[in-house]
């Protein structure tokens, strides 16, 4: 219980204090890193308590169940909290080493960590929304980080679309309370069977749309490329490696635990949407010339695998979805951070991430892909789709690697828009591949 409370209150309180300080000072940045480290440490202790035994459940204020707010840390929640915390920590270390540009950055990242931890360890639907909103609000402000025109444009798109997603989520939460009379997740799961089937399907669709917007799945992806290419590398890593985990967690928690009947009903649709996402993301990522654009479309494709695995369902499908989400979040954090760096070590790290995205054996991505193949072993069409998707990932990841790290045509960091607009033109003239595509990449 202490570890659970500490993992929440430490980043929350420290984030508030850090928000008042000038984050551009190196010391403040390192304090933020220490706080995120402490959060990660508390989560590790919590995981050590949760994984072998039962979930840790705390009802605030010793109120009877149903009255007090329930905090509930189980294996799934703790895993996602650990993952997000790790992504945030890496991105913050990166940015502090680079030199923080705005005074609010360290405080916001730490508050985001508090929100994410809260989302993953709450057992109460409304509380989920509150922490969700805390994390998202920090995310909206973080998306403006850098303060340039491009960043502000990206932040506007990100905020508008995600506010709509959150609104749909809140409507669904209200709907759930209306039909079940409780906001406690275990209570909802127990009472959902007696709910009118039409209402349940409507609620499930609402949650699905809300979390798909967050994940950037195919029909809801339109905001994602603008935001991930417009934001600074550290922020893109935080958004895709940390914040996007809410989407995958939500689909697993709400689909698998609260609305399992509706998930079965929609399994076919999920597999179709997931497949479309894989193909769309893969094909567009191949056609992109800059690393950040490639990664943005790759993100759309990669979450497609997660959705297909959830659609397949059952213990094997859910395990594959969880494993793939973990691997994907780690890949994205690594790639977004290294894509703008140059040098042999950065190149090797990027190659490792690229191997992982493609699912080639020495990298972690292989394990994720292996589980996916195991989950879909019964369906030749899905196996073929995964092979095609992996081949596309291999092409786009190493194409970017080749351009950025081998040929050395793009040296240094492109920090401002004008230099970015002029450099691809000179590049494309020298490359056989880019002739036909240079037009569509801009």
């Amino acid at each position: 219980m202490t570890a659970l409370s500490l993992s929440l209150v430490v980043p929350w309180a420290a984030g508030l204090v850090l928000a008042l300080l000038d984050g551009r000072r190196r010391l403040v940045g390192w304090v933020a890193v220490c706080v995120l480290g402490a959060n990660l440490g508390a989560l590790v202790v919590l995981a050590a308590a949760v994984l072998p035994d039962d979930p840790v459940v705390v009802t605030t204020g010793n109120w009877p169940a149903g009255v007090g707010i329930t905090l509930r840390a189980d294996a799934l929640g703790v895993l996602f909290a650990l993952l997000s915390s790790l992504a945030l920590l890496s991105a913050t270390v990166f940015e502090v080493l680079e030199g923080v540009r705005e005074r609010t950055f360290p405080g916001l990242v730490v508050l985001l960590a508090a929100g994410l931890t809260g989302v993953f360890v709450t057992g109460d639907l409304f509380n989920f929304y509150v922490f969700f909103e805390l994390a998202m609000t920090a995310g909206y402000v973080l998306a403006t980080y850098g303060g340039g025109r491009r960043e502000l444009g990206a932040a506007l798109v990100f905020t508008t679309v995600n506010l709509l997603g959150t609104f749909i989520f809140l409507l669904s939460v209200a709907g759930v309370y209306h039909v079940t009379g409780t906001l406690e997740m275990s209570g909802i799961a127990a009472r959902m069977d007696e709910v009118d089937a039409n209402a349940a399907v409507l609620l499930a669709a609402g949650f699905f749309v809300a979390f798909s917007v967050k994940l950037g799945l195919f029909p809801f992806h339109f905001w994602l490329p603008t935001v991930y290419t417009g934001a600074r590398p550290a922020v893109a890593a935080i958004l895709s490696g940390g914040l996007a985990n809410i989407g995958a967690y939500g689909l697993l928690r709400f689909g698998g635990e609260l609305l399992p009947g509706e998930l079965d009903l929609a399994a076919g649709a999920l597999i179709v949407i997931g497949s479309a996402s894989i193909l769309y993301g893969g094909v567009l990522a191949v056609s992109r010339r800059t690393a950040s654009e490639m990664l943005a479309y790759s993100a759309i494709g990669q979450v497609g695998y997660v959705l297909v695995a959830i659609g397949v369902g059952g213990p094997v499908g859910f395990a594959a979805a969880i494993l793939y989400t973990v691997v994907n979040a780690l890949n994205k954090t690594l790639l977004f951070l290294t894509a703008q760096m140059r040098g042999a070590l950065a190149g090797a790290t990027f190659a490792l991430g690229a191997l992982s995205v493609a699912g080639v054996p020495p990298a972690a991505g292989f394990v994720g892909k292996l589980e996916l193949f195991r989950a879909t072993a019964g369906s030749p069409a899905l196996v073929a789709l995964f092979v095609l998707g992996s081949a596309l990932s291999f092409v786009y990841a190493f194409q970017t690697y080749q351009y950025d790290f081998w040929r050395g045509e793009r040296r240094g960091r492109r920090s401002s828009a004008p230099s970015r607009a002029s450099s691809p033109r000179s590049r494309s003239s020298s490359s056989r591949w880019a002739c036909g595509r240079s037009r569509c990449s801009r």
Binding site: S5, A13, V17, L20, T60, G61, N62
Partner: protein, 145 residues
């Protein structure tokens, strides 16, 4: 701007603070809490900004410039009150003294940790709203200039 408005509005802050204090206190037996008390005070402050203008309002009441600090201090107080029971092995948001135990009294006022929690919420809400008003006032004056 009428003279009455200019004379009355700045003097409304005192009664508003009094009403806010009453709302916090009666929250334990009646309708009321720190949130609505914060909104009441912020409304009185907003009226001051409207009548005096941002510059004069903040010069006459320098604490307004420190609204963000007040908001953060309030939230820190809430977190401290909410989570300190964890140190004693109790779940978060447990309040002391518990039901049936003797309470510290000041006149008719009974002090529990829940009151401190509401004071924290009051500071957070009032601070955040005043800061919002300050930013809006700044935008308006920039546009006018």
């Amino acid at each position: 701007m009428s003279v009455i408005l200019e004379v009355v509005c700045p003097r409304l802050l005192g009664p508003a603070a009094m009403v806010a204090a009453a709302i916090i206190v009666k929250g334990y037996s009646d309708v009321g809490d720190g949130f609505s008390a914060g909104v009441v005070v912020a409304l009185a402050v907003a009226l001051r900004y409207v009548t005096l203008g941002a510059e004069r309002a903040e010069r006459s009441l320098p604490v307004l410039r420190h609204a963000p600090v007040l908001a953060v201090a309030g939230l820190l107080l809430v977190l401290a009150i909410g989570f300190f029971p964890v140190a004693f092995g109790e779940p978060p948001l447990t309040h002391f003294p518990r039901a049936g135990e003797p309470v510290v009294e000041i006149g008719a006022l009974e002090l529990t940790t829940a009151v401190a929690l509401d004071v924290g919420i009051f500071l957070l809400v009032a601070g955040a709203l005043v800061e919002t008003i300050h930013q809006i006032a700044r935008l308006v004056e920039e546009r006018r200039a």
